[in-house]
Amino acid sequence: MTNAVDIENVSLVFGGEGNNPVLAVDTIDIAIPKGQFVAIVGPSGCGKTTVLNMLAGLIPPTAGSVKRNGEEVDGPSRDVGYMLARSALSPWRTAIRNIEMGLQIHGVDKVTRRERAHELISLLHLDGFESSYPSQLSQGMRQRVAIARTLAIDPDLWLMDEPFGALDAQTRLTVQGEFINLWERSGESSVIFVTHDLEEAVLLADRVIVMTARPGRIKSDTIIDLPRPRVIDELRFDDKFKEAEHRIWKELRDEII
């Protein structure tokens, strides 16, 4: 079976042609089988987001190859959902129309996309806020709308760039729980989840990749062997979880301190 993602010998240089070039990503290899939830952690500026941008087809690698389902990535794809750190909702669209945006771009008819949007609204507990504008929503709700928008197109690869970074601790826990439920139900979808929060990475992911400070290289790659379905808010106090987090923390600490 082909992997969902194959990143082979990939390097990326920003600002070439004498413009003070910066090596952002240095010769990384990551292979992600279908249906795996991978978290990438690392200090800020380590090229985590750059990896997502390459997978989303927004920037080509300087060297090496980036493949999805065995095929070279050569531009944005309809099967990839990309969620940015900031919710990046269109302020002039109501919540439901924001959720529909990807479907609208893909040319899905109005009735079908409304149906799909309503489905996500109830899954993410946004009922009653369909026609609110983003400015009328709380931070947590905006992030939920952004999740719904990302997943509305039924992507088979979810790229999440610090999606919960801006949330307060309690809201984050709730949204993390909703998110993991959605993924556990989705079946075959693969997730690459970039975060600087190790606890979040270990709670959610099957596998945690630690990246080094710039230039980004892979420092460690660990399987998190915790049972699923996971109940996020309880798992935090589990000894096996704490042990896993501590193990990876030792790797990460060298990069931060």
Binding site: L58, L84, R86, A88, H106
Partner: protein, 326 residues
């Protein structure tokens, strides 16, 4: 979210820990709750009264009456040197000879007279057409060019010296040439208004395109949006605020441009009429015509304001386009 709401995967937590709960307010004790029914809803008439804000209306009306009185009584025409108490005798406000004076009542009489004057309405129609054509053509071109140059930076680089020079030209100076090229009828005035309106719209639109949230562009790109879809879903909605601001301004400037064009050479139009009346010392009529032109500009502005409120409903009520705040 309470942790007890969800089943824990492993029964690892012991309930009898040594943390104490000092008080719990959520159970029972209905009497301590704040009674919302004590808050009486403000009646509708009170809310309207508050919105109208009577003191402001009174001061406004008072000021209006004062201005009309000072004008009608010809007090403002008697001249004066406000700094004479400093021993400086320069006449800042000249004394106006009676022939050049015009008062509101004369303007009012004129406004009543023209009501069934078909010749006047002919002139009105000419000016209205010129202004509308100039506004529509100029703002459409300005919007399109601004949108394209804002989106394609290399094209903007190529064009920028030409546009900067063209904008630096005092456009009124083109009027005589435009009249030679397009004739003394409507077309030359439309051309002048188009040129003036073009830059009023193009410059802010181009700047606003650069200011659209780049994250929205990334989201749309990652969803596979085409350039046309990005215009439709990201760029155009993102620049509506500055666009409407510039449209309001250009609706007024299109009237200004056509009146100016008519001053230079024309057969018909309110500007031509205004020049004729002033040359014949019909001061009341001139003031009446100026009032009509201002009224026209206000109507343009109100129509654009209505569209603005419709399209920018998502913005805060404060930021929404108000024509005149009552």
């Amino acid at each position: 979210m309470k942790s007890s709401d969800t089943a824990s995967p492993e029964p690892s937590n012991d309930e009898t820990d040594n943390s104490q709960i000092y008080s719990s307010q959520s159970e029972g004790s209905e009497s301590e709750r704040f009674d919302m029914s004590k808050i009486i809803e403000t009646p509708r008439w009170k809310r309207i009264l508050k919105a109208v804000d009577l003191p402001i209306q009174f001061v406004r009306i008072g000021l209006f009456v004062l201005i009309i009185w000072a004008w009608e009584s010809r007090w403002i025409f008697k001249g004066g040197s406000p700094f004479s108490f400093l021993g400086w005798d320069y006449q800042v406000f000249p004394e106006i000879i009676p022939l050049f004076q015009g008062v509101p009542s004369e303007a009012w009489d004129f406004l009543l007279d023209i009501w069934d004057d078909s010749l006047f309405w002919g002139d009105f129609w000419v000016t209205l057409q010129e202004a509308i054509y100039g506004f529509v053509i100029g703002s459409t071109l300005g919007f399109t060019v601004g949108l394209l140059l804002g989106s394609f930076r290399r094209a903007a680089k190529v064009m920028s010296p030409f546009l900067i020079f063209a904008n630096a030209v005092p456009k009124i100076a083109l009027a005589p040439i435009l009249i030679l090229w397009y004739g003394v009828d409507i077309a030359s005035k439309v051309a002048l208004a188009t040129i003036i309106v073009f830059f009023i719209v193009q410059i802010p639109v181009q700047a606003a395109v650069a200011g659209v949230d780049p994250d929205l562009d990334v989201v749309a790109t990652s969803m596979g949006a085409t350039q046309f879809q990005k215009f439709r879903f990201v760029v155009i909605p993102g620049i509506l605020g500055p666009l409407f601001g510039s449209l309001r301004l250009s609706s007024i400037y299109s009237i200004l441009a056509v009146v100016l064009g008519e001053f230079i050479v024309s057969k018909r139009g309110l500007g031509q009429r205004l020049l004729y009346e002033t040359n014949n010392f019909g001061m009341g009529k001139a003031i009446g015509l100026i009032t009509i032109l201002a009224g026209l500009a206000l109507v343009f502005n109100a129509i654009i304001g209505m569209m603005e409120r419709r399209f920018l409903r998502w913005q805060d009520t404060e930021a929404r386009g108000k024509v005149v705040s009552l």
